[in-house]
Every structure is written in C-alpha cells, then in structure tokens.
Amino acid sequence: MIDFISINNLTKSYQTESGEVTAIEDISFNVKRGEFITMAGPSGCGKSTLLHIIANLLEPSQGTVNIKHDRSEKNQLSELGLVFQKSILFPWCSVIDNILFPLELLGQKKGGRERAMKLIELAGIKGFEEKLPHELSGGMQQRASICRALIANPSLLLMDEPFSAVDALTRLKLTTDLQRIWEEEKITIIFVTHNIEEAVTLGDRVLVLTARPGRLVWEEKIDLPRPRGRKTAAIKEFQDHCGTIYEKLGF
C-alpha cells in the first residue's frame, strides 16, 4: 500500500546576502493516513520550512512531496489545514466569521455554520463565537485557529508550534483536547514543536531533527495508550522515549 504522504530527499536552501543557507537537507519519511506525527528539534532546524514545503507554500530546492488525497472523501473542500505558531485570527471579525473564513474564500460559506458550531463545541469555545478575537484568551484563540483549520474538512492538518505561546496549564489542556479532536475528526496531523515531552505525549511517531542543516536523525515510535495526559508523563516508558530523543539531539 502506498502511504498517504511520502516525502523524498527534501532539501531546501535559502539564498541570503551572506550566501546560501541550507535549512533542511535530504529529509525523507512517510506518513500513514490517520497518523499523528510530531516533529521535534531545536530552533532553526527547519521545522517551519518543512511544513511550508508540505503545504505547498514553498518550493523545495530538491526532492518531492507526494500526498495521496482521497478525492472521494465527501465534504472535503480543502486538502489541508494550517495552524500557526501565534494565533492569527483577524481582529476585525468575530470568532465564527474567522472560523468560516476559509469557506468564504472557497465560496462555500453557506451551510458552513452548522459545521462551525460543531467544531466550536468540539474545541470547547462554545458561547464565544460572536466575540472578537481580542476578547479571548491566548489559549481560546488557538482553539479558534484549530477550528478554522478544520472547517474545510481537510484530511491533513499541519500545526507549527501551535501551543508555544500559551502557559503550561493551558498547554496541558490543549494537548488533551487536540487528541480528542484528532480522534473525532479522523484526520492526519503533522505537529511541529521544540518541546520533547509534548512531542512524545502527542505523537504516534516522533521525528527528531537536528539543526544546521536540518536533518532527520531519528524516528521514535510511541506506543503509549491514549488519551495521554499529565499521568502519561509519569510512566517509565514515556521517560525512556524522552531520554532517547534527548540523547539523539546530543544532550
């Protein structure tokens, strides 16, 4: 069986004034449908670059990305959804209009409200849909961003350090809720983080990257039972996984 996503020998160099900077080098991996992939690595190892290439927002210098989209999937208006590091909701429109924005671009806004309300409930921000983004806490804004990324029924969700701007407790809650959303929506997630514990908590597999240039050095398979939360962190295997990853990163 061909994998859902196959990434082959991706290399990306940026031309800068001080010469060529290789952000990522020769990265290959596959992703199965429905998998929760996390990607961990230090700052500047090219995680965002890699996500942008997968999202087709950036051309690779070398290599290919193949995503086998299932055209038959109903209601799928977009192949992928994107969640950014900081919440980038539009300050000028309400939470629900922000969530519906992708549908507006696609000319499918009608009939999207029901789906939006379902997502809002799933993400735990019910009752805030008519508020303006600045009236929400950072954590709730990220929840709304996740809803927006899911509104067009994508089969792939790309998340670029989505929880790095919220406090530790909110982060814990978001981690739990994201797993629930992933199970409900039956989507594939590629989740980027520089937090090893977060990567192990969320991922079916953790891809470990090193910096300058960004290379894939290790793949850690995580078999811990779900849902994983605070208590998971106390399990010995969890700590072993983290230990291995830290070692691979040279700590």
Binding site: A55, L82, I88, W92
Partner: protein
C-alpha cells in the same frame, strides 16, 4: 470613560486659563489692538462680522469637505491600485513623490491661472495635498504579515480576494489615520488657495482684512476656521471609532 471626561475638563480649563492670561496681558500692558487684540475684542469681531464670516466660512467649509473627499478617495483608490499592481507601483511612485515634494504654495498661483478663482482651484489644491497622505497610509496598512498571506494561499485565494477580504480590512485603521491627517491638510490647502487668489472664503477675507488693518477681524476669521477644522477632525474620529471597534486605542 471617566478618564476621558476628566481629560476633557482639563482641556477646557487649560484653554480658559490661556484666554484669561491673554486678556489680562493685553489689557494691563496696554497693547494696541492692531498688534494683538484681546479675546473679548475677537469675540466682538465675530459677533459684528457674523454674516460676512458665515458666508465666507461656508464657502471655505464646502471647499475643504470637497477637497477632502476628492483627495481621500483618490488616495485610497491609488493606494489599493499601487499595492495590487507592483509594476504600476514602481512606475508611478517616483513620479508621485516628485510632485508631492513640489511646494504647494508655489504651484498655487499656477492652479489659479489654469482653473480660475472659484471653488475648483481650491478643491484641486486641497486634494493634491490630501491624497498623498491618505495614499501613503493606505499602502502601509495594506501590507500584511506573511501568515495571513499563507493562510489565504492554502485555500488558493486570488490576489484580488486577498486584497478585498484581508488587506483592505487590515488597512482600515491606517486609512483613517491618513484621513484624519487629511482633514487638517484640506484646511491648509483651501486656505492657501484663498490667500493666493480667490473671490470667496475665509482666507480671501483675511487678505482683505489685512489690507484694511482690521486685525481683530483677522483673528476672528482664524478662530472660525480653526473651530471648523477641529470639528471636522473630531467628526472623523467619531466615525473611526464607530467603524473600527476592534482597533483599541492605547
């Protein structure tokens, strides 16, 4: 809310103190009225000359509003156009900057020669100053962070969609900043035009008063013009607050 009202009271108090000091200064020092009239002298001028002031004031106001609307509209449209069209931007921008750096006072007489002593010349002069401020601010506001752009591109949005659904909204606060600056520029433009040559308007009136050394009357004209300029600016601020409630003032 409380805070705002308190600051209003302070403004009024400060103005009152200035007026009282001014009045006492002029009266106690016996300063001749043709050098510096006292606030009460100016007030009585305003009352005396009210019909003339009203007539010319109205003429100026209309020109200011017309110049503001024309200049503001051109500024917004050009700003959007230049941001949408990169080649147009590169081609037109240097020319626009060049014309803008030409001192408007210097070209005012030419405009009078070409377009006459009426309203049209005033509106043209005012709008040439107003449009640039509005355009520059609009263009600044139309620049968006790359994340907005990437978000739109995920859904294969066209550049036009990005312009209409993201950039314009993003630019609204800046557009209003440009327009607020534009209100004062429109007043300046119209007044300059009236100084240089017009058959109506407060600027024209001031030139006449000056010729007859009616200094209190000149002050009266300035006061009327300033009050109008102030109200115009405030009106814009109120509209701005109503229209863009998400833009919180710090």
């Amino acid at each position: 809310m409380k805070y705002i009202e308190k600051s209003k009271i302070y403004s009024v108090l400060i103005i009152l103190v200035i007026l009282i000091v001014w009045q006492l200064f002029v009266k106690l020092m016996n300063i001749p009225v043709y050098t510096l009239p006292s606030p009460t002298d100016i007030l009585s001028s305003i009352v005396n000359q009210r019909t003339v002031l009203l007539k010319h004031g109205l003429s100026s106001c209309i020109a200011v509003i017309e110049g503001f609307i024309v200049g503001g509209t051109i500024g917004i449209v050009l700003g959007v156009l230049l941001m949408y069209h990169e080649i147009l931007n590169k081609a037109l921008m240097p020319i626009l900057v060049f014309f803008q750096t030409m001192p408007k006072v210097a070209i005012a007489p030419l405009i009078m020669v070409w377009f006459g002593l009426g309203d049209l010349s005033k509106v043209i002069l005012a709008s040439t100053i107003v449009f640039f401020a509005v355009m520059i601010n609009t263009m600044d506001g139309l620049r968006i962070q790359p994340e907005y752009y990437n978000l739109a591109r995920v859904y294969k949005a066209s550049n036009w969609q990005i312009m209409m659904k993201i950039r314009i909204w993003h630019a609204l606060p800046n557009i209003f900043t440009g327009l607020r600056i534009g209100t004062t520029l429109a007043v300046i433009g119209v007044t300059v035009a009236e100084f240089v040559g017009a058959n109506e308007g407060l600027g024209h009136l001031m030139v006449l008063y000056q010729a007859y050394l009616k200094i209190p009357h000149m002050f009266a004209s300035i006061v009327v013009l300033s009050i109008f300029g102030y109200l115009f600016y405030e009106l814009l601020r109120i509209i701005e607050k109503k229209l863009i409630p998400w833009y919180r003032e710090e």
